[in-house]
Amino acid sequence: MNIEQLIVTGIRTATAEVFSTMLGVELSVGELTIEGGEPEPNDGVVSLIGLAGPWMGTGSVSCCPELACRICSHMLMTEAAAVDEEVLDAVAELTNMIIGGVKNRLEPVLGPLCLSIPTVVFGRNFRTKSAGMAEWIVLRFPWEGSQFAVKMCLTKAEKIHPMLHAPSHACTLEA
């Protein structure tokens, strides 16, 4: 199994597991696309987590505001009518569990990876871009008329930040 297949399987398995366990919702397998080029504008909630280690990149989940509220309602068993701090926190934690689950499935092949703390953005007509990354693996899961997207871009660390592997004296300045 190549890295791309590993990521796709990891996203499908982790997303299904998190939705089933924490929300009591059974998702379909999700539609796979590979996206590159100019990022499309977003409306709604996007949650991002950085991955670092021998491979580096970003994992994200995104959905419309209504779906974010529905996720929060299912997860916390409370009524969420509008995107507020509680909804954003629920989406952030959902992201943490999904991308963390993918990470756990990738580590036996790619080596130890670290996760950052999630950052959640809520707004209209904004774009997100990961510097240095060409392609995103995207899975879109339909749920009650809306879509929940999980994306990941990952590449070998030296391809992004060669200076990380440079000798420690490489950046010192001579007086």
Partner: protein, 129 residues
């Protein structure tokens, strides 16, 4: 006497879910207190007698591994059972938690039954189910 429980997680959502799950277990648990990171947890523990700590690993300021190390290094706190609840499945952090003396490890996402099963193993001798 029913022990007070401290839930430590930077996610308010997870703290809320764990509160609900702990109540659902039907175990004899006292007050459930919350902290957003290890530092806040230690501040609470200075003024409140805690019988069980449930903590996330990845948190800002002081993470769960650092909190566990601080508790196990303290004569006053070293016997308090600490359960790690985290997305981390890697050998490194889980192994470190076990080596430092974590009583149990639960991986997120979790079910209420998984939490109950782990806590029963830890608290059964002391608590009526």
């Amino acid at each position: 006497m029913e022990p007070d429980v401290l839930v430590v997680d930077d996610s308010a959502a997870i703290r809320k879910i764990l509160q609900r799950v702990l109540h659902q277990t039907g175990m004899g648990i006292g007050t459930i207190l919350e902290a957003g990171n290890g530092q806040e947890a230690l501040e609470i523990m200075k003024v409140q007698k805690i019988g069980l700590v449930l903590t996330d690993i990845n948190m800002p300021k002081m993470d769960g591994i650092q909190l566990l190390a601080a508790l196990k290094a303290s004569p006053a706190w070293r016997d308090i059972p600490v359960v790690m609840i985290t997305t981390e499945g890697g050998e490194t952090k889980v192994g470190e938690a076990v080596r430092l003396g974590a009583a149990a490890y639960v991986r997120k996402p979790f079910t209420a039954d998984q939490i109950k099963e782990k806590l029963a193993g830890i608290l059964e001798p002391a608590l009526p189910l």
